[in-house]
Amino acid sequence: MRRLPLNLLIGGVLITVLAAMALIGMVWTPYDPLAMNFAATLSPPSASHWLGTDEFGRDQLSRLMTGAGTSVRTSALTVLLAVSAGTLFGVVSGFMRGWPDRIIMTLNDVLLAFPGLLFALGLLAVLGATEGGIILSLGLIYMSSVVRVVRGTVLGLRAREFVEASAVMGNSRLYTMWRHVLPNCIAPLTVLATSICGWAMLAESSLSFLGLGVAPPSPTWGNMLSGSRAFLDQAVWLVIFPGLSISASLLGINLLGDALRDMLDPRMRIRA
């Protein structure tokens, strides 16, 4: 309990900084993130370029701000896809049982049979490495855990009196699902959505780093880091700042996730 406010505080601050960076980056950046300036290549942080420039003289702060937008957008859309589709399938599966349940769970088992990113890599090989392809493949693999959690919660709720009472009162199954079952899934879903947000952000930057993400010259934190490898011994700032951005964002999400879990799921409070 004592750690709770600190988690929330640090996590909240880090996420606010990330969101601000992404939002401001959408409307304004100090320089054009794509504009090359061969008079100032690989220049260290200075008054004119706060975080230095890369091998083409592009301003790193501007590129980080644009990259923050990409990171936030892809993770948010991935979470949206995973949670909405996963909740739909999970509720249908858990509430209807029978053949819909069997079909959904078999398909879900297919997704779970592949380790982590492997299925996403396979899909990207088919779909092509675009932002849409990344969101679709990551959304699909994270959907499988949403389906499982929602289905489990719904199965527990089905036998509860208030759900039975709703049926006895003559409410339709659809109304009962919407009014009585779904609201009770929100707490576990919030905790899971926070985790998925972190996984998606890490996955997006990892894929970018591998060259399977949003293609250069569009800046992402992953492809900036990947590009900096050639200048490891000349331009430390190109290694430090993109990595710091990713790590600080992930730390923020992880801390926030811990705090949320402590608040929303008292049974799991003792978990770290």
């Binding site: 049979a113 880091l225 990947s226 990595g243 801390l255």
Partner: protein, 314 residues
């Protein structure tokens, strides 16, 4: 015990089949002639006709799957479009490289993180617990590729203690091979320590709240006996299961570390194949990694009763 093992084994077989069907469908989703795709060269009319015949592309889809699956069971995964070499030997070769990084890193991380996690749980909410958990959370928030680059920068370029990048085979020069593996293994180790420590702490805390622990303390057992004899065996289960998942995930995820340190491992093989649209290799890697994942988790589950005999008795 035997019934438990057989039941678990029977569960693994449909999963393997599901994986095979999925990969088959995934590859067939790619527009175009599967034979031309597998050959990488549509102009070779003779080779194309031969492969179409071999894959049975003029027959129905279920028949095509059976032909494909029987080739698979014979270990025939086709030839790489890029190198022309057989896919399976290439994969096995690269797999042996990745294993040298993944196994030592996960083993070391477990040996360090489990006692630390148990210690943190034992001292719950003390300053030492909070600092351990905070360090773990920090470690797992740092992506492996950045951690790898930072270690490279510090130990390779600034201090010049270790070679920067590369790989040497153990059979050629064991000492050099070991030196080259230090940084990649350390990178993975630092990341996994965070994950495992948090899990070990959480599951130990759950066990420490149970009555039999209170009873063990009440009868005057020293704390070390309470922790190791009573808490450890029941608390290690979830961590043991997590280890199976980590090992499987790393086989695909290790591509990142192999990229940072330019190591010719399995992950890099898959990523390069995706770039080159080398579909036989992509298909082979997907099948191989998913099968290893299922196998590792099977072994983990079969060994579980050693720690917790209740599982087999149920």
């Amino acid at each position: 015990m035997l019934r438990f093992a057989l039941a678990r084994l029977a569960m693994a077989i449909p999963t393997l089949l599901l994986v095979a069907v999925t990969v088959f469908v995934l590859i067939r989703l790619i527009p175009g002639d599967p034979a031309a795709m597998m050959l990488g060269d549509a102009s070779d009319a003779q080779g194309l006709a031969a492969l179409r015949e071999r894959l049975g592309l003029d027959r129905s889809i279920p028949e095509q799957f059976l032909i494909w699956a029987s080739l698979l069971l014979q270990g025939d995964l086709g030839k790489s479009i890029v190198s022309g070499q057989d896919v399976l030997p290439t994969i096995l070769d690269r797999f042996s490289v990745s294993v040298q990084i993944v196994i030592p890193a996960v083993l070391l991380a477990t040996l360090v993180a489990v006692p630390m996690g148990m210690f943190a749980a034992w001292k719950q909410n003390s300053l030492r617990d909070i600092s351990l958990v905070s360090c773990a959370t920090l470690m797992l928030s740092i992506p492996a590729f950045w951690m790898g680059m930072l270690l490279l920068l510090l130990f390779g370029l600034k201090l010049r203690w270790l070679p920067v990048v590369g790989y040497v085979n153990f059979s050629e020069d064991p000492k050099a091979a070991f030196v080259y593996l230090i940084l990649p293994v350390a990178t993975l180790f630092l990341h996994e320590v965070g994950v495992i420590l948090r899990m070990a702490r959480a599951s130990t805390l759950e066990v420490l709240n149970l009555e039999y622990i209170t009873h063990a303390r009440a009868k005057g057992l020293p704390e070390s006996a309470v922790m190791w004899r009573h808490a450890f065996r029941n608390a290690f289960g979830p961590t043991w299961t997590l280890l199976g998942l980590i090992l499987g995930n790393l086989l695909a995820g290790v591509a990142i570390i192999e990229t940072v340190f330019t190591i010719p491992g399995l992950g890099r093989l898959l990523v390069d194949a995706i770039f080159a649209r080398d579909y036989p290799v992509i298909q082979g890697c997907l099948l191989f990694i998913a099968s290893i994942y299922i196998l590792v988790n099977l072994v983990v589950d079969l060994l579980y009763p050693i720690f917790d005999p209740r599982i087999a008795a149920q």
